[in-house]
Symmetry: C2
Subunit: 302 residues, 2 copies
């Protein structure tokens, strides 16, 4: 079994198991069953925001900073690549280069898989593997707006939303959507003219929001120059100190996705369903028929 | 029942049923069961791409153009707003203003709902309602990268990916991911300096891709000036002529989401699951227990 080596921090075995998990290689669950109960020590940082906001650069700066503090850092970079493309692997190579010599850093890219959309289950499982392997800080970097962001906030202990001056009208809608999910706002590329206006816009929206237990700070950074990173880390630590980790939520996320996977694979066969839909064109009655035929009995006592 | 009025094209009833569907008001399925079998006439156009690419402006130009051709146009705008915010409604007001006097246009915004991520089921159901209500062209506009885009391509007959010059490094990853899902590429804001380089980048990536049955054209537009829209529509029509509509795929998408909703609501209760996970920390064994307890019997004969 791989899990022993992974728990002992063997990088090669870790990478191998990550691949098994990501490709759903038969038997990966056996390993995970041994490993997940050992998780729950790391601090999970989610980094999300629009394309071109400079999230990767920011992630690299955070790695450097936490390494200086002697922390081991794992990164899961979720690239918006298709299930077919090799983009994720490419992402790896580019990012690995800078830290390839550092044994305290492990970076893994994951394609946004899964016809379920949003954050893929394997992305979270891979992040949990880094936790089990003894990395102190785990950064989940995701390119995306909307649902991806909502999910990243449910599985990360501290969720950082990176925005950037002057991305156009849509940014307004995005801001409206991210108020509930951001623990910290970063206005990157703060040397741009519109940076102050962007920060002000955020402040105004924050005043309108309902959050009482934590007012998300707005940090201006110039990631390419490493500016603002110290203040960012300070705020991450403040947030960490104030809230309990979301380990159970991460496990719940994995459980839910796993059940859906099983149901789709075993119960919901595409061809059969399509044939039926071509006849009567009514998905609701069909699903109710399937669902009513499901009976379940779960023993919650043991 | 509302469905009769909706099928007769009554806008108020249509808007009302859309709200029922989006809010999952009890009984909405009854109406949908009557309506969905009547769908399948409209051409579904998906428009996706990065924030700030000018998708809304492009959508508005397409509306104008198709109206000139005497086509009735329905739009579903999926805003990356949180389940709690009212952003989607705001989106409505802004967009409605321009076409509020035109009986041949119906625009509805939908928040990216659903903890399942990606394209929400109600977004597709609302688009199907527009189909049933007799709109000829249905535009689904979604802000997002990654999974949202993959899903929009599975439910739209012609999928347009809008990109824009100089959105930074992430754009590379996005391009890699959208090759499989784009039927047509639009390089908007084509008056920007880097427009030609962006178009060239796309051409190069297309040459590397495997698509044989259809090479996605790359259209340069300046949506704010209405430039390039005629060529865009020409290419939409070419694509439409070449491929069969994805009506069954849309119904399948709805069916799948509906089954998952039911299972989450009835079988997968958050509190119970969390309690168990807090004890043993092993989601896989828990889910297998639940799944093994499911038995199903579906009659596919009638």
């Amino acid at each position: 079994m791989l899990y022993q080596k992974v728990l002992n921090g063997d990088k090669r075995s870790l990478a191998r198991l990550m691949r098994f998990v990501d490709d759903r290689v038969i038997g990966y669950e056996k390993e995970m069953k041994q490993i997940l109960p050992k998780c729950g020590k790391a601090h999970f940082i989610g980094i999300t925001g629009s394309p071109g906001a400079g999230k990767s650069t920011l992630t690299n700066e955070l790695i450097k900073h936490y390494r200086k503090l002697g922390k081991r850092v794992g990164v899961v970079a979720i690239d918006p690549t298709s299930p077919f493309s090799e983009g994720a692997i490419l992402g790896d190579r580019i990012r690995m280069a800078e830290h390839s010599q550092d044994d305290g850093v492990f970076i893994r890219s994951v394609a946004t898989r899964g016809h379920l959309g949003g954050l893929s289950s394997s992305a979270v499982e891979i992040a949990l593997l880094l936790d089990a392997a003894g990395y102190d800080i785990i950064i989940i970097e995701t390119v995306g707006v909307g649902q991806d962001e909502v999910e990243i906030s449910t599985v990360s202990d501290t969720c950082i939303v990176v925005t950037v001056p002057g991305l156009g009208d849509d940014i307004q809608a995005i801001k409206a959507g991210i108020l509930e999910i951001a623990d910290i706002f970063v206005v990157n590329k703060a040397d741009k003219d519109e940076a102050n206006r962007t920060a002000r816009d955020l402040e105004i929206m924050l005043e309108l929001s309902q959050k009482k237990d934590w007012i998300p700070p707005i940090i201006k950074t110039i990631a390419t120059k490493g500016e603002g990173i110290f203040e960012l880390v300070e705020n991450i630590e403040n947030h960490k100190a104030k809230f309990k980790p979301k380990h159970s939520e991460r496990l719940f996320f994995v459980a839910k996705q796993y059940l859906i996977e099983k149901i789709e694979k075993k119960i919901f066969s595409y061809d059969k369903i399509i044939d039926k839909l071509n006849i009567n064109g009514d998905p609701y009655s069909l699903v109710e028929k399937i669902f009513d035929s499901l009976t379940y009995e779960i023993d919650f006592t043991d």
